[in-house]
Structures are given as structure tokens and as C-alpha cells.
């Protein structure tokens, strides 16, 4: 499959003023590629540089070293608008991304910006709102919605633009567990229906488990690149990488402390359950 994103030797330093350049780079020589249709999770603790990376991809931060290519277009100040056409982005705090007075208005904003005729716009907005399951809220004020509903509305806005790439920048971290599960389920569905490439920046182990591949960033550098099971098998190092331990890893450790020896490596919940059931029945 073709690479939809190519990042080569990307570095970034935050500036506090004209002269004052932060000595420690927020990103340090980061290179990776993303295949079209892939779900890539980027993990790292608070301050590791993962959000800086996400913002760089969308041209929100003007990096000085390295190159980013999105859908064959090299990201430069001249091409930034073309690149942004290809990327939809959802941020952490749903309250910071609303412009419309109603859900409908808000979802229409992107199309209005593109000067789409009203006759064309209305059905596209309705279809997008329906796609995210928010039809009954179409005339509500966004501020009256729950966090999870707000993120759905933000997703509907992205659906109207039909980008190739969806970037979730800790988009589920402020939601309650149910809202988080619903949103991940929706992203999974949109990914299939809209043929999206998904990049999710996250601390959430369940969100990372959805990915085909996980990149770990620490101190501005790419330190790990593997499938979720390989990443999850790393035990305590996961905490350093800004992830929680999977429940099965915690249980494995607790059992070892009690003289019981479960299999090594990462086990899914179903594998752990099967192993325990077999061991307990083995009398």
C-alpha cells in the first residue's frame, strides 16, 4: 500500500521570543511513514512531543528542519492549504472547537468556508450529522451537549469535508468511559465507510489497541515502532511511554507475586481468561 504520509528528519524547537529559542528540541530528528488506510497510534507521556508532531503534520507549527509529505504534496507555506484539505483534526477539549450557534451551523462551517452552494450543503450536513448519530440534536446549542456528543459533532464537521486523514489529538481523554468507547466505535465505523487513514495521539491503552501500529515518542524522539501486542508486552516501560499497563499485565504481575506463573508476554483479556480457566479446571 502507498504511503499517504512521509515524515523525514523532522525537528522542532519552540520559540519564547525573537531571540529566545528553547534549547531542547520538542521534536528531534523524527522520521516515519503512514500507509493509506492504516490506523496509527502515537503514544508518549505529557510533554513528550506527540502533540507537537500532530500539529506539525497539519502545518499548524512551522517546522524548520526536515520534510513532511502528505498525499504526495510536500508541506510548505505555499502548499499548507492543499495539505489541510486532506486532514481533519479533532482536539482534546471539545469546547475549544465550536463556532456555530447550533449543531447544524457548526457542522456546515467547513462547507461554508469552501463556498459550497446551499442546495448542495444542506443534504451533506444532514448526512454527516446522521452518520455520527446526532440527528435528534441538530438544532441544539453545542454548549448544551455532553463531551462525547460534542466530539461527535466535531467528527460530523470533518465528515462533510471528506478528508483522507483523520488526526485525533487526545480526542477521547476528556470523555467518560462510555463516551470514549462510543467515540472509538464511531471512528472505527467512519474509517471503514469513509476510507480514512487514522492517526490517534493517545494515552489510552484501549485506543492504542485499535491501531495497526504504535509509535512511541519520548523526549521528542521516536523510541519505538511496533504493533500493539509488542508494545503492550513491555511491562513497566509502558508507564515511561505514557501508557497505562494493560489489565492483563497487572494481573500477571500480581499472580507472580503469589507464586503463580502465568505465560510471559502480552496476553489479551480472552487469552488470560482461557489460561486461568484451564489452570483452575486442571485439578
Amino acid at each position: 500500500m502507498a504511503n499517504i504520509i512521509e515524515v523525514a528528519h523532522l525537528s522542532y524547537r519552540y520559540r519564547n521570543g525573537e531571540q529566545d529559542v528553547d534549547q531542547r528540541p520538542a521534536l528531534n530528528d523524527v522520521s516515519f511513514t503512514v500507509q493509506a488506510g492504516e490506523w496509527l497510534a502515537i503514544v508518549g507521556h505529557n510533554g513528550s512531543g506527540k502533540s507537537t508532531l500532530a500539529k506539525s503534520l497539519d502545518g499548524l507549527l512551522p517546522f524548520t528542519e526536515g520534510t513532511i509529505t502528505v498525499g504526495g504534496i510536500k508541506l510548505t507555506p505555499e502548499t499548507v492549504w492543499q495539505v489541510r484539505e486532506k486532514i481533519g483534526m479533532i482536539f482534546q477539549n471539545p469546547d475549544n472547537q465550536f463556532v456555530g450557534a447550533t449543531v447544524e451551523d457548526d457542522v456546515a462551517f467547513g462547507l461554508e468556508n469552501r463556498q459550497i452552494a446551499r442546495a448542495d450543503m444542506v443534504p451533506r450536513v444532514q448526512a454527516a450529522i446522521e452518520e455520527v448519530g446526532m440527528t435528534e440534536f441538530a438544532h441544539r446549542e453545542p454548549s448544551s451537549l455532553s463531551g462525547g456528543q460534542k466530539q461527535r459533532v466535531a467528527l460530523a464537521g470533518i465528515v462533510t469535508i471528506a478528508p483522507d486523514i483523520l488526526i485525533l489529538d487526545e480526542a477521547t481523554s476528556m470523555l467518560d468511559p462510555q463516551g470514549r468507547r462510543d467515540m472509538l466505535e464511531l471512528v472505527r465505523r467512519l474509517r471503514t465507510n469513509q476510507h480514512l487513514t487514522v492517526i490517534s495521539i493517545t494515552h489510552d491503552i484501549d485506543e492504542a489497541a485499535n491501531a495497526d501500529r504504535v509509535l512511541a515518542i519520548d523526549d521528542g524522539q521516536l523510541v519505538e515502532e511496533a504493533d500493539p501486542a509488542t508494545i503492550f508486552a513491555q511491562g513497566d516501560r509502558l508507564v515511561q511511554l505514557g501508557l497505562d499497563l494493560p489489565f492483563t499485565s497487572k494481573l500477571q504481575a500480581a499472580l507472580r507475586q503469589r507464586g503463580i506463573t502465568p505465560p510471559d508476554g502480552y496476553l489479551t483479556t480472552a487469552e488470560m481468561e482461557a489460561w486461568l480457566w484451564q489452570s483452575l479446571s486442571n485439578t
Binding site: N46, Q92, D176, L255, G259, I260, L280
Partner: protein
């Protein structure tokens, strides 16, 4: 009792056509030095409930007792200063309330506002910085140079500098990474165990409820629909799920094993409790090593 609610009802904009009852006939007791978790879906009344604790909202009817303080519909604002010092409130994203030039000044602001002189307040600020795990070397820095998690610690130090006896926490770990979350929860646990603070925690994190809370209040549509120990409340996962509430990971896992035929004495709520019960019934302990 540290906290006692007696038939507390609260109506927003009472007596107007906009009247909206957010709490209905809520009664419960939290013993001295207790640790209460409040859980419930968005809009269930959790935030309204905690604002009754320092009379940011006064009951429309009923009575709230917090240690020696009594809050009734008739309580006037003139009486509230000692209560506000006694009950420390950490709202969601408290770091957004930081405003001073230096961290020391920010933490010392509250105590000075309550009449402490600058020298004592500064000394207290340095002490609180150590309590929240940052250390007094941070005191002269700007709070806005810090990471999100560090800023939150400064905001919490500012609340602790009031020397509250009751600490109310509204989703204090939202938006932090797992390590930051654990450090934060450990800090509150220490304040509870070592300094005897009564803790009231509003959370969606059922793992934290299982790990730290001594009592759990479940809110739904402004009513208290369940109250008990975590053991009692989580004992009925089907009921919780019907109320759109989660159960801790370990309990969910134990339930799946129960469906296969493992009978638990008591539903385990943490990985440690689950491992204890598994070890107790393990057929040939450690045989895999032999």
C-alpha cells in the same frame, strides 16, 4: 460525622419558569476522615452536590452538615468564610485559575486573602510545594512555564495552603497521562491517611473508586440511587451497566470467569484482590516452576 446530608433538595432558579431541580431529597453520612467517591452519568447532579459542601449553592430545602458547620436554606453569605477555609475545592482543570507572576505568590494568595501575613504565607507556600511533590525550588518560577500536570499541582498546593480539613476533588486527574494520574491519586491518598483529610472525589475512573474510596455515592437524575462501600456498590455490575456506569476492570474480568463457572466469595474489584482469590483456589501452586 464529617459530612451529613439531610433531605437536601436543590432547584436552580427556584420560583421562576426556568426552575430546574438538580438534587432531590439526598441524604447520606460520611464518617470523620472518610473517603467518599461520587459517581454518575454526566448531568446526574454530582457537580451540584459538591457545591453544597462549601455553600457555593445552599439547599433549597434540607440541611448539610460539614464537621461543625451547618448549611440551611437560611444560611447567609456573611457566615461562610470559616466554612470556605474548612472545605477546599479543586475544580476541574484547576490550572486554568493560576494567575500570579510566581508560583510562590500564587499559592500564598489564598492564605493572605484570609488574613495571613506575607512572610508566613510565603513560607506556607514553599511547604505546600513540597507536599504536592514539586519542591520549593519551583517557588520563584512562573506557573505558566510548567507542564499541565505541574500546573495542576501548583493549583492544588494553593487549595492545600488554606489548610482545609475536607478536600473536594472534581475529576482531578482528567487529561493527565497514566503516570501523572497515579501520582495525583497517591498524593490525595497520603493526605487522607497521614493528615486525616476527609476526601470527596467526583470521578469516572472506577479503578480509582475501587482502589481508594471507602464509600461510594451513585447519582442519577439528581437522586442518590445507591450508597455503600465499593464492595457493595460494585457487587451488582448489571445494575451499574443499566445505569451507564462502568465496573472496575478486575470486576468485569471476574464476571467473565464467573460466567464460565468460577464462583467468587466476593466480587474482586482490583487486580490484587483478584489475584488473592485466584491464589486461594489455585490447584497446584507454583507447579509450573517445578
Amino acid at each position: 460525622m464529617a459530612i451529613s446530608f439531610e433531605h437536601v433538595t436543590y432547584t436552580y432558579q427556584a420560583g421562576t419558569p426556568m426552575a430546574n431541580t438538580a438534587l432531590t431529597d439526598v441524604s447520606f453520612d460520611v464518617p470523620d476522615h472518610g473517603y467518599l467517591a461520587i459517581i454518575g452519568h454526566t448531568g446526574s447532579g454530582k457537580s451540584t452536590l459538591i457545591q453544597e459542601l462549601n455553600a457555593l449553592l445552599k439547599p433549597t430545602s434540607g440541611t448539610v452538615h460539614v464537621d461543625d458547620f451547618t448549611i440551611t436554606p437560611k444560611t447567609t453569605n456573611a457566615d461562610l468564610k470559616p466554612l470556605r477555609q474548612h472545605v477546599g475545592m479543586v475544580f476541574q482543570f484547576p490550572e486554568s485559575q493560576l494567575f500570579e507572576e510566581t508560583i510562590r505568590k500564587d499559592i500564598a494568595f489564598g492564605p493572605q486573602n484570609f488574613g495571613m501575613n506575607e512572610t508566613d504565607a510565603n513560607q506556607l507556600a514553599d511547604e505546600m510545594l513540597t507536599t504536592v511533590g514539586l519542591g520549593s525550588s519551583f517557588a520563584d518560577r512562573s506557573p505558566f512555564e510548567l507542564s499541565g500536570g505541574q500546573m495542576r499541582r501548583v493549583a492544588i498546593a494553593g487549595v492545600l495552603a488554606m489548610r482545609p480539613q475536607v478536600l473536594v476533588l472534581d475529576e482531578p486527574t482528567a487529561g493527565l497521562d497514566p503516570r501523572g494520574r497515579e501520582e495525583m491519586m497517591t498524593l490525595f491518598d497520603q493526605l487522607h491517611r497521614e493528615q486525616g483529610l476527609t476526601i470527596v472525589l467526583v470521578t469516572h475512573q472506577m479503578e480509582d473508586v475501587a482502589e481508594y474510596a471507602e464509600q461510594v455515592a451513585v447519582m442519577r437524575q439528581g437522586r442518590l440511587v445507591k450508597f455503600g462501600t465499593p464492595q457493595e456498590v460494585f457487587q451488582d455490575p448489571d445494575w451499574l451497566r443499566a445505569n451507564q456506569l462502568d465496573v472496575p476492570r478486575a470486576a468485569r474480568f471476574a464476571q467473565a470467569l464467573a460466567a464460565k463457572g468460577v464462583a467468587w466469595d466476593q466480587l474482586p474489584l482490583t487486580a490484587e484482590q483478584l489475584a488473592d482469590q485466584l491464589a486461594a483456589r489455585w490447584p497446584q501452586r507454583g507447579s509450573a516452576d517445578v
